[in-house]
């Protein structure tokens, strides 16, 4: 190349260039001969290197295999050796590739340069980011005491950082929306009734072998967990009968033998009436109850006035249908799956009781420890880890945000509503620093307006995030987390019907400067001067855990990354012993009575919609997880936005057509972003439904931003569950705004006198 004369450089330009030292950063090196070899001509994922790992597109955690070619992930499949999902993954599992390579990802540590919520950042170094977080943790603790620190977390990898908050001595070291906005009431009810968490992350219900199943508000098929859905479908394929109770004709309802479109908020009335019916008709399993249950006589007395005739107007269901359904379940007992539910934070008051009623119904049928019923976990042995962090519970403050408000809250941490209240008001003590990991709190916790108001009052807020969510935008420091495809986590065991042990391990190198949660927590602990995390890296503690199972990482990988075990889910009903204090299934819970709570469920009505409004309920899109996947290109293409389900008769009277775009206004005057209406007979006239997770308010999520409407931003009214402090999500009401005009919705199912009507503190129109 000798002819570069198109550019005339002056002597001073040449001198300036010559003086520059740009060569001290090697950008390129000589390629190894191996790398230089011609590229493989095999198409697609053929010839790819396969690494077994564990999915995290949702928290069911299916075993997967990542297929990598030239350092690039080209395909994800189910681990064929997995007894749970086999070679299958769901749409989300397939789309992990698009999370890994999403250009919107958080790539480097970021420091806020604009106002909180503005999302203006500058990239900083890891040293600077970690030092700043550690400095603020110590500063806030010294100034206000340890309890001024609060940690919102979700998922296994967030548990490392939880240890830092615990070691720093705050009672608020875990505030999991997974409990307070999801499984908490159900988990507590089953823990107290059966002595183990029959429903939490997992649901121990044997649908595969059931002769009949009952789903109350559970949307299997819309809420996709591969092995759970497979068991449900296998059960149906084997001829199981299905009863679905739901105000909406869900995917599961479409497969039901009996579908009961119940009035929202009255499920406990139905369950109490059913219990009374099977007791008075002698349809319960007398031997099982006598041998294995405690509190039957108290239960019998407590439910005696709840008849089917009493329940009919409350539930808005015909007596004949209710009777048909319970007779169908009774006929097939004890092999009936009374599904315990998962997401249970619906109405605040009565949520724990509703799931307690479900737990009792299963026991009355003797559907426990038998094929088709509730079953017991099969623990898989692995080595115990000692990170060297604080193991004892932190000292409780004078007034606890947890147990002083809700007697059973401390089982799960501190209720999110109380953390937010304390942050906003400074009472009973100030909370001044939040750490957030694995959860987009603004789109998860009711009343996001209050959450944002609380954040403005903090001295410091940081998060570990993968995508620039609303929560990241409100943070002072954002730590870029590696995705599940780029990191190790602890050894993972599955204790359901097909037990196994596997491990999450990186299938590719972390992109940009993202780091694993363990690395971040360990570095942070070091900088905060905490003696925590005895292991230098993940492989060290994984080997220790595997040692307890007689394995090494190498031997596990040689076996295809997964080892299976024999399940022990069933029990002889004559020798049943459960892990409650009495060793029996508790039909009446004295621990509740000791705290002035109902030991046996009662029907507590939740207020009916105000005139002109319908109740807003929500559910899942089968291809999305929470608000985490809406920016994923493949999943976005499948379901880019949500629709509002509105009853056809209501829509006709209100002049709303299918597919029309409207705005929702809730009882407090807050308005949604535009959403299209799906007009359908498949929903009750007093109810509207929308899938959760859409309507992102983060402009940094280029695909998810403003796509559909957020249910969370319509949930401004909530009540706490009096047992454990979970906050309600189905206590809000909407009407429609079309072309700027507010439309009151007609009332076609007026509530009976037993159900009071909601009265807003101040109902106002529009503008928010």
């Amino acid at each position: 190349m000798k002819r570069r004369n198109f550019l005339k450089l002056s002597a001073s330009a040449c001198a300036a260039l010559a003086a520059l030292e740009l060569g001290d950063r090697p950008v390129f090196k000589a390629a190894y001969a191996k790398a230089r070899q011609a590229k493989t001509s095999l198409p697609g994922s053929l010839g790819a290197k396969e690494t077994p790992s564990v999915c995290e597109m949702c928290f069911w955690r299916c075993p997967i295999v990542g297929k990598v070619k030239e350092g690039k992930l080209v395909k994800i499949e189910g681990n064929p050796k997995s007894p749970a999902n086999g070679p299958r993954v769901c749409a989300r599992g397939n789309s992990g590739v698009q999370l890994l390579y999403d250009p919107d990802r958080i790539k480097y540590p970021l420091k806020r340069t604009g106002a909180r919520g503005e999302g203006k950042w500058a990239r900083i170094s890891w040293d600077e980011a970690l030092d700043e977080v550690a400095h603020n943790l110590i500063k806030v603790k010294e100034k206000y005491g340890p309890h001024a620190l609060a940690y919102f977390d979700h998922g296994a990898s967030a548990e490392f950082m939880r240890d830092i908050f615990k070691t720093l001595g705050t009672e608020n070291y875990t505030n999991e929306p997974a409990f307070y906005q999801c499984v908490g009431p159900a988990a507590l009810a089953y823990l107290m009734t059966y002595g183990y968490i029959t429903t939490g992350t997992r649901q121990y219900v044997d649908m595969k072998h059931a002769k009949a199943m009952l789903l109350i508000g559970t949307h299997i098929g819309e809420n996709v967990h591969v092995s759970h859905v497979r068991e449900f479908i296998e059960g149906l394929s084997n001829g199981a009968k299905l009863v679905v109770v739901d105000p909406r004709f869900s995917a599961a309802a479409a497969k039901a033998d009996i579908y009961l479109p119940i009035r929202p908020g009255t499920d406990t009335a139905l369950l109490l009436a059913w219990m009374n019916f099977i007791i008075t008709e002698g349809l319960y399993d007398k031997d099982f109850v006598e041998r294995n249950c405690s509190g039957f006589h108290e239960l019998k007395k407590a439910v005696k006035d709840y008849t089917l005739n009493w329940a009919a107007p409350i539930c808005d269901l015909p007596v004949t249908d209710m009777k048909r359904a319970i007779l169908l379940l009774a006929k097939n007992s004890p092999n009936v799956s009374i599904h315990p539910g998962r997401h249970s934070t619906w109405y605040g008051r009565g949520d724990t009781s509703r799931h307690q009623a479900l737990a009792i119904l299963a026991a009355l049928f003797g559907a426990v420890g038998v094929k088709g019923g509730l079953y017991f976990p099969t623990p898989v042995k692995k080595g115990h880890l000692s990170f060297g962090c604080a193991e004892e519970e932190p000292e409780t403050p004078k007034k606890s945000l947890s147990e002083d408000y809700y007697p059973f809250a401390s089982t799960f941490g501190s209720p999110t509503s109380k953390i937010i209240q304390a942050t906003r008001t400074g009472k009973p003590y100030p909370v001044k620093l939040w750490g957030i990991n694995g959860v987009n709190i603004i789109q998860t916790i009711p009343n996001p307006y209050q959450t944002m108001e609380a954040i403005k009052k903090l001295d410091f807020i940081f998060c570990e995030e993968i995508l620039p969510t609303e929560t990241a935008i409100w943070s002072d420091i954002v730590l870029p987390g590696a995705t599940y495809l780029e990191r190790y986590d602890t050894v993972y065991t599955y204790d359901l019907l097909t037990p196994y042990l596997t491990v999450r391990q990186p299938v590719v190198k972390p992109m940009f400067e993202t780091k694993s949660s363990f690395w971040i927590a360990r570095e942070l602990a070091k900088r905060a001067g905490l003696k925590c995390f005895n292991y230098n890296n993940e492989v060290e503690f994984i080997e220790e855990e595997l040692k307890g199972a007689g394995l090494t990482l190498k031997s596990l990988n040689e076996k295809g990354g997964i080892v299976t075990y024999k399940a022990n889910p069933y029990r002889d009903p004559k020798k049943l012993k459960v892990a409650t204090e009495e060793g029996k299934i508790m039909l009446s819970i004295e621990d509740f009575a000791d705290e002035d709570l109902d030991p046996i469920p009662k029907f507590i009505p939740t207020p009916a919609p105000p005139k002109g409004y319908v109740r807003l309920v929500y559910g899942r899109s089968p291809v999305h997880t929470f608000t985490r996947t809406m920016n994923n290109k493949w999943l976005h293409n499948e379901a880019p936005e949500n629709h509002l389900w509105l009853n056809d008769k209501v829509a006709k009277k209100a002049g709303i057509k299918d597919g029309e775009e409207v705005v929702l206004e809730n009882q407090d005057g807050y308005r949604s972003w535009p959403i299209k209406v799906k007009v359908t007979p498949g929903i009750r006239p007093d109810t509207a439904f929308m899938p959760h997770g859409f309507g992102s308010r983060s402009k940094l999520l280029s695909k998810a931003y403003k796509q559909g409407a957020s249910d969370q931003f319509m949930i401004t009214e909530y009540e706490d569950d009096p047992f454990m402090g979970a906050s309600s999500h189905r206590t809000n009401f909407i009407r429609i705004v079309k072309a700027g005009r507010v439309i009151d919705l007609p009332e076609l199912c007026p509530p009976p006198k037993e159900i009071p009507r909601f009265s807003a503190k101040k109902t106002r129109t529009g503008g928010k």
């Binding site: 198109f6 550019l7 450089l9 740009l22 950008v27 230089r36 698009q98 390579y101 250009p103 620039p468």
Partner: protein, 183 residues
Amino acid sequence: MDRELSKIFALLARGFSYPEEDNSSDAFFGAVKEVAKALDIPCNSLSYTEPELREAYTLLFINEPRGRWAPPFSSVYLGGEGILMAKGQDEARNFYLEAGLEPAVSSEPEDFLPTELHFISKLIENDKEEILSRFLKEHLLKWFPRFYNRLKALEPHPYYLLLAEMTWKLLNMISQEVIDETT
């Protein structure tokens, strides 16, 4: 001349890298200004602080609060998927390997704009005209104009607009020459 041209591409590569001491210095700005002058691109005095450039860089090339940013990765523009590590990455990597090179340890994907500009610098330095011609024609010039247009539409910080204008002009000049020569 080739030595200087190679250095100019190395200069642009550093310019499009995250601002640190060596690419936010008066000496660096001085060299940028001289090259701009040679390219007939008007530029006033370049006097920016490192924090100012860091914020501007983050907003344009990392994450931007209004969702208006110009990802400096060829994969985002090539292949229609709009994601990282796609067609652009494969193309860039194949060119690097063909030239006997591979990126040294870096946290960015290999189709990062500074890496591609640095590659041009290396090709000129090593007199690999034929590869350069194809790299420009078959790869860089297929995505850089889209990146450049997107950047211009954002009304970006003047320094990064200047660097982009310089790169665009220089690429046009060099491509005319090398592509004409080799075709």
